[in-house]
Symmetry: C2
Subunit: 298 residues, 2 copies
């Protein structure tokens, strides 16, 4: 399908995509580029990519598809550098796809840098990931059975979307399209807010007495609850800034829920507490049900 | 060590303790009692207990040790019924132990019902558990390598604490003593607050648009994050009411953390966000470190 794919940013996500595309023969050649020379070396050693280039201009030379897998906060700089390397809106490439967790801000950045949203640009977000960063954690089959959200805009070429979709299908994933607005709102609720809360909890616990004591006497609950905080905090800082308006919307709803629970506890109002906890318990059952349906449909 | 143990409340915890004590030969006979006749029948069928009694008076007759494994909110009623069955402060039993997640309120209840805290009463809390309730989820080896906190009071007999400790050691657990005040404060931070937050998050998500959509597009993060909400909400209602003051203390600290994060997002202050997220990330690393040390020490 693709002759030469250039992967810009060979971290955990970029590396996992490259690893699997090469194995499945979807690309003839995969060229890697990363500002971190050690990551690039490791990617070559692990045979995650076929070859690396130290300069972006050389990396994209002759590539018919580009994948940008850098943190959301570094994306604008990449668009700028690609423009400086001579990439133009009428470039003869199949697609350029990013895999960031926020879509509106990334689209706005590319529009500002290129003057319009290029027809070859496909914004994507695979709902998959592990809490570890770096190409050393790149893994096969990371995307099997996972959903990938594509958020094309009006100017996006339908051919570019089609080819990008085939890439995800080749990895065993399920691509589907929706607007960037809807994506950002949905992810603020299902992913970004839970991350903000988990970080906020650990920040709070760390500021009370004897953090080593609560850590020692905590069980698997707290460990699971805060697993997401093992991720690189810089990545989450970028997401919190880039998607702040939708996150702030759901954060306000959460703060209201918390206030209701606090008031019920202050008043020892067992009935109110029971009503809130029971409704949350039912929502949890539906969540597991929806996820089970999803994996069965896969 | 124990001739006849009476287990009052044969749910997941009571059942798991009975199952393992019988297997390890720590008790000659285990008699079960539960208000739920179906649970009692199932416990007999699964051979979690040797025999059951339909009346509490018959169940405790001839027992030299009692284990109370009912939800925190049902404990006071059990103390009342035990008193009515003729149990007295000078009873010739090795110990009566409860396994509730809150200790001060349970101790206060028994003091009120019996007029003093009986010397045979050992308040305990095993830091172990799964999110499923009921004797059908009773499992062997649930307590292997786990910590158990005992919170004896001044009047507690040291012999009772010693025998109760041996019971936990026989199950492969590590008992240690501390004050009930300290236990409740610590658990409010390490367990109760995370539960309140997880329930609060699902309650909030359930009240925003299209809950089925965020559920469908959520990944493993949200599932892990809200795993604790699979537990019976009644149990957590009781804990929230019984331990409300220590929980409210840490909840206030958490709400302040959340406000700081909200303000940083509102102001697009990436530096403040980075500082908060990084400190939380480090606290997470220490948490995992402390839990690893603990399991290695085991």
């Amino acid at each position: 399908m693709i002759h030469r794919l250039c992967v810009i940013g060979v971290g955990m996500i970029g590396g996992s995509i490259a690893l699997e595309l090469a194995r499945r023969g979807f690309c003839h050649e995969i060229v890697g580029y990363d500002r971190d020379i050690h990551a690039l070396e490791l990617a070559c050693r692990r045979e995650v990519i076929h070859r690396s280039e130290a300069r972006l201009k050389d990396a994209i030379d002759g590539a018919d598809a580009l994948l940008v897998a850098v943190p959301v906060g570094a994306m604008r700089q990449v668009w700028q550098e690609l423009l400086e390397c001579g990439l133009r809106c009428d470039a003869a490439i199949k697609f350029l796809m990013d895999v960031g967790s926020v879509k509106q801000s990334v689209i706005a950045d590319i529009r500002q840098v290129f003057g319009e949203v290029p027809s070859w640009y496909v914004p994507a977000h695979p709902i998959a990931g592990i809490e570890h960063n770096g190409v050393e954690h790149a893994q096969q089959d990371l995307f099997v059975g996972k959903r990938v959200i594509l958020t094309p805009v009006e100017s996006t070429s339908s051919e570019a979307v089609k080819t990008a979709s085939r890439l995800w299908e080749a990895l065993g994933a399920y691509p589907e399209s929706m607007s960037a607005v809807r994506h950002d709102k949905m992810l603020a609720a299902s992913s970004h807010l839970p991350h903000v809360i988990a970080y906020g909890l650990l920040y709070a616990l760390d500021s009370i007495d004897e953090p080593e004591v609560w850590a020692r006497f905590s069980g698997g609950g707290l460990r699971d609850f805060t697993r997401v905080c093992a991720t690189d905090p810089t990545m989450w800082r970028d997401i919190c800034v880039s998607n702040r308006l939708p996150i702030l919307d759901v954060l306000r709803v959460f703060e209201t829920s918390l206030s209701q629970m606090r008031e019920a506890m202050e008043a020892s109002n067992a009935d109110d507490l029971q009503r809130i906890l029971y409704r949350a318990h039912q929502a949890r059952n539906r969540l597991v049900g929806a996820q089970t349906d999803q994996s069965q449909a896969s």
